[in-house]
């Protein structure tokens, strides 16, 4: 592995004095002086908000640093007994979940048969969704089954989702669905 070309050098004329100066150079450790250049810590004046990683189920604690209403940094919370400040690559990338040019911020609507989206107002969209839910519920509701049992339900509306979401969502969502008689409630836990 190590080459014999060094031997070649040793034979050559200038090498003797070269070694002396080379030795001086290498003994000098570092020729440039040591410096301390004061650094600006970019979260110095930031507000810190405790948060939790939204990816897998380990529940790593994070700290969100904000400045002027903008997120500037998200890193692990070293106090947490789950992660002691560690994060996986996804957890380390939470910042880009928030600050990301690919992120949608408007309500989109597509009419049956339409070839593209249309941007809708939030209120208009909610009004329409509530109407559709009511209409479908009313059309498909089963009060009593064929065998005479009281069931008070509809299976024509499917409520899907929840495993990456807060328990508060899970609670009020399933409460609303069951309150309306919608029983087909599922989330990722089963897939």
């Amino acid at each position: 592995m190590n080459l014999n070309r060094r031997d070649f050098l040793r034979l050559s004329a200038g090498a003797g004095s070269g070694t002396a100066l080379g030795g001086l150079l290498s003994a000098g450790v570092n020729l440039a002086p040591s410096l301390a250049a004061a650094q600006e810590l970019r979260i110095k004046d930031a507000k810190t908000t405790p948060s939790i990683c939204p990816y897998c189920s380990v529940g790593c604690a994070t700290l969100v640093h904000t400045s002027n209403g903008k997120i500037i940094n998200i890193e692990g919370d070293a106090r947490s007994p789950h992660n002691e400040g560690c994060l996986c690559p996804k957890g380390a990338a939470i910042f880009q979940l928030h600050v990301n040019p690919n992120r949608p911020t408007q309500v989109l609507h597509r009419d049956p048969g339409a070839t593209d989206w249309e941007v809708w107002d939030l209120d208009r969209a909610m009004t329409r969704v509530a109407q559709l839910v009511k209409q479908t519920r009313d059309e498909t509701f089963i009060e009593k089954a064929e065998n005479g049992k009281l069931v008070n339900m509809t299976s024509a509306i499917f409520a899907l989702g929840g495993a990456t979401l807060e328990i508060e969502f899970n609670h009020i969502h399933q409460k609303l669905m069951r309150g309306m008689g919608i029983v087909a409630i599922e989330n990722q836990a089963r897939i």
Partner: protein, 264 residues
Amino acid sequence: MAEPMGFFTDTTVCIGCKACEVACKQWNQLPSPEGGANTMSGDSYDNTRKLDGINWRHVKFVEQFSEDRVGGRWLLMSDVCKHCVRAGCLEVCPTNAIIRTEFDTVVIQSDVCNGCGACVAGCPFGVIDINPVSKTAQKCTLCYDRLQAGMEPACSKACPTDSIQFGPVRELRERGAKRVSQLNDGGESRAYLYGADEKMLGGLNSFFLLVDKPEVYGLPPDPKLPSRNLVPASMFSALGALLVALIGVFSFRERRSGEGEDRP
């Protein structure tokens, strides 16, 4: 000067998760190649490929499997700037952009660097390259800004298995030696520390525990300073100049006048 600080990267507990890569990008706000629309390298799970101006941590994946799969290994290693005690990049920088800090780490000041590329070629480990955004040479700073604020570097903080450990180099070397003997006692005789003593460039402040030859991990077995060639190369250049000068004197001096008639 504060106590020398560094990394001890124990490759035997690395799980190749790349949290270090992302945590580094997050803290230092580094971009991804092609805005993230990268291509697959086909080299195991490594799509980062190498350390450069926007990848200051790089996890390497080395698959070692024989045909019968017996005793197969998948070596994983998070590579980073070695923060050499005798640093090649620092030697060759013409602008003093590269400094040795109070933590004995090596930092490129992006506001000073003019992107000449000398350090890129000078680094014995291929750590540095130009960041296409800042158009300056960049590499791991060992989170100089965080260190000054008493915080741990982003990568070692994120590392889920403590494969990357941060601390005073003296302490890390003790820890590393202990881990090597633990592994040796447990039957892993191949474990050793790479760069933990002065023999390698005066010591690497960021050193590694490996279980195979350095070149298997893409590390030079015998890294050297670029300045090793300065004197010999200069001498030979001078020798060349001298010889040419002699030929010149021999060719052009006045007494040769009259010899130089061209044939028509």
